[in-house]
Every structure is written in C-alpha cells, then in structure tokens.
C-alpha cells in the first residue's frame, strides 16, 4: 500500500513537472499555399488542437493545444502524412518545472514518454524547445545520421 502510494505520488509529480505548451513543425515536399492549406485543415481535425498558425512562406505550423487535453505527437505526424507531405522538423515547447533529466532516461509528459539523448544530467525549468529525433519527425537525411531505433508508440527520442 505504501509502495502504491509512493508510485502514485511519483506519477503525479512527473505529470506536474512538465507540460507541452506548443508544437512547431516544418513540413516538406510542398511549394504552394494549397498544399499548406491541406495540412492546415488536416491538423484542425485533431480534437486536442486549439489553434494553428501557419506561415505559408516557410511551411511552418505553430500548433497550440486545448487546456487539459492529451497531446499526441504521432497523431500530428499522421495528419501531415495523410495530407501527402512529410515533417522535416518537429519542436515541442515544454514547460518544465524543476525536472531533472538524464541521458537515455525517459520522462513522462502528457502520457507521452520522452527519452533525452545526448543530454548530460541537468535541471530543466521554464519553457524549453525539445526537438523530436525519431523517424517521420525529421527529414530522411537527418534520420540517417542518427538512425535511432524505433521506440514503443507514444515514446520519442528528443534533444534539447
């Protein structure tokens, strides 16, 4: 019972220690406003998405989320790919509250696990940009450089 309580307290502390505030992604494979709009409209169908700010010139999408919603990075990726395009960079802006991260150790944020790579043990505090490194979240060229193994669904390699 004591252990269970400790576990519950631990989970609570993890979820309280960080929150995804925004995602910025850059799409590739397109050159026109209509393609950009196809992505824009596909992203809008996600139930946890509050608002999308699209920069047509740079093919960049700033996505904000509804309060108390579960952000799902895989669903975002699937929407971009469903519209017929690829993601070339995916940055999650995470609000950390004194969270200590270590290399190759995972942290649970909004039901998603982030595995920090090439990070020395450090204390994260405030909003920080976290770059996703897995296949489909970076360009094929970039992915070849790291060639990170596929993780379980909802688990991502990230860099800070």
């Amino acid at each position: 019972m004591k252990k269970l309580f400790l576990f519950a307290a631990l989970v609570a502390s993890i979820t309280l220690n960080a929150q995804v505030t925004k995602v910025q992604l850059k799409a590739s494979g397109l050159t026109c406003s209509m393609c950009s709009n196809a992505i824009n409209k596909a992203l809008k169908t996600l139930d946890f998405v509050e608002n999308i700010n699209a920069d047509i010139k740079t093919y960049t999408f700033d996505i904000s989320f509804k309060a108390n919603s579960k952000v799902d990075f895989d669903k975002i990726k699937k929407k971009v790919e469903g519209a017929g395009f690829s993601i070339t960079s995916f940055t999650a802006f995470v609000n950390f509250n004194h969270l200590v991260v270590k290399n190759m150790e995972s942290v649970v944020i909004d039901d998603q696990s982030l595995v920090f790579v090439t990070t020395d043990e450090r204390l994260l505090n405030g909003v920080m940009a976290v770059q996703l490194l897995d296949k489909g979240f970076v360009s094929k060229k970039e992915y070849k450089k790291t060639n990170l193994p596929a993780l379980l669904p909802g688990t991502y390699h990230v860099n800070i």
Partner: protein
C-alpha cells in the same frame, strides 16, 4: 437583422474555406495525373469538357466526363468517371471508368519532392469504334496499367508517365475492328508545370495561376503506328477552392486513324477536405 447577415457571411466563409484544393498546383496537370496523391479523407469532383474538331466534317465532338476522386489513404487514390458525348449524333451516356493510383515512393525535402506511383484504369464504353487510337477516356473499353514519376523543385514540376493499354470490344456489339494484334499500345507522356502567380504567398485565398505543357504519345505495339500531341494549358485556382483548366490539344505528328485529335478542353474541379 444585421447580426443574421453577419452570421450568414461567417457561415458562407466557413463553407468556402472548407472547400479547398490539395496537392501542388504546378503538378496538377490537365491531361495526366502526377505521382502525388490526394489528401487522405478528401473527395474531389471534376467536370471535364472536351470540344474536339472532327476531321473531314464540320462537326464538333463534345465529350462530358464527370469524375469523383477519393483520397482513400495517403498512398491510394481512387477515381470514378462517367462518359457522355454527342459523337453518335445524339448526346448520350457511353460508359464509365475506374482509376486507381498507388504512391509507392515519396522523397520529400523542403520545397521539393520526387515521387513515384503505379496506376491502373478499367473502362467500359458502348460507342462504335471509329479510330485506331486507343483511348480509355471516353472511347474504348479496355484496361491500362502504368507508372508515373513526378519531380517538383520550387515552382516547377516535371512528370512523366508510361503505360500499357489494351483495348477490347466495346459493349453494344461494337467490335474493336482493327484486330487483336493492334489492340495494344504503349502510352508515354511528359508534362511540365510552372507556378506563375503569386510570386510570393501571403494567404490561402490568393489566386494561383499555373502554366502547363504536356506531350502525349501513343505507339501501337501491333501496327507500330503512333501519334504525338502537345497540350498547352492555363490553370487558375481561385480562393484555394475552385480550379479551372483551359487548354488546347494539338496533334504534332501521327500516322494512325484518329477522328478528332485537335480541340479545346476545359476542366472544372472542387475539393472537399477531411470528409471521412
């Protein structure tokens, strides 16, 4: 009252905004399909009109081809179309066609991509056979299988298709009169598209203007007879919602019997996103 009007305006805006065009404007060719697919879950409606000048007569052949296009998944698009024409003196329905395209390669980079797809078409037509040219888009019953590769770099798209086509007898006892050995052909095409306007994007409602030139070839594997056509066209996309293509198809060289190779074509298209 004014509140109601503004609400109607907002509703209209939402309706207009929800009807948009997918894909890359400069590779949305008029007479061939690019390797890129429609957005998954989208449905498009198209009306193709061809107004062709019939050879050795003063008649004009008008073909009307309505088409529905469904983005089944990110890799698979399926189109269905119906054929109507006035070629047999009365304007009537002549058949239909199912087309499917599967994208098997997609190399995306910022402002560029290279994609390849395989496609197939099965057509049924009930009109009389009147030309050696094999055309599954409103003339012949038959099947076609091919590959398409499309390269997009900034504002220019280049696309090429190669396909094998086999005609059979048309329905209504209209035989393919040129013999079985002459019922097969190879089609190959080369298409160029360039985004002319806008020069820089500022919003989704800017009018897009694309210029396109397509070279369309057929070689009959039995007779060795061929044709080569060129089709320049201009495409306009208004409000990212409606598309109009206007072009002219012109025979450059041919030694096969063709009824009406030269003429204008007009395409109207609407797309609905995230339908399913």
């Amino acid at each position: 009252m004014s509140n109601n009007i503004s609400r109607i305006k907002i509703n209209l805006f939402i309706i207009i905004f929800s009807v948009t065009q997918s894909c890359h404007a400069q590779e949305l060719f008029s007479l061939t399909e690019p390797a890129s697919n429609r957005a998954a879950g989208s449905i498009g409606f198209r009306i193709d009109n061809t107004i062709m000048d019939e050879r050795n007569s003063s008649r004009t052949n008008y073909h009307l081809i309505p088409e529905v296009m469904i983005g089944i998944s990110k890799k698979l698009t399926v189109n269905g179309s119906l054929f109507f024409s006035n070629r047999s003196n009365a304007f009537r329905g002549e058949g239909g066609s199912i087309y499917a395209k599967y994208r098997f390669l997609s190399n995306d980079a910022v402002q560029r991509h290279f994609r390849m797809a395989a496609y197939g078409r099965v057509s049924v037509n009930n009109s009389d056979i009147h030309q050696e040219e094999i055309d599954l888009n409103g003339h012949n019953t038959g099947a076609e299988f091919g590959l398409v590769a499309t390269k997009l770099i900034q504002k220019v798209a280049i696309s090429s298709t190669a396909s094998f086509v086999k005609a059979t007898d048309n329905v209504n006892s209209n035989k393919f009169i040129y013999g079985t050995t002459n019922s097969k052909a190879v089609n190959y095409t080369l298409s160029f598209g360039k985004l002319m306007l806008p020069t820089a994007y500022s919003n989704y409602r800017q009018t897009n203007i694309n210029c396109m030139v397509e070279i369309l070839n057929q070689v009959n594997t039995g007779s060795g007879k061929y044709y080569m056509d060129m089709a320049p066209s201009i495409q306009m996309i208004f409000n990212s919602q409606s598309r109009i293509d206007v072009g002219y198809r012109k025979e450059l060289a041919s030694n096969m019997i063709r009824t009406a190779p030269n003429g204008f074509f007009i395409r109207l298209e609407y797309n609905f996103f995230n339908v399913f």
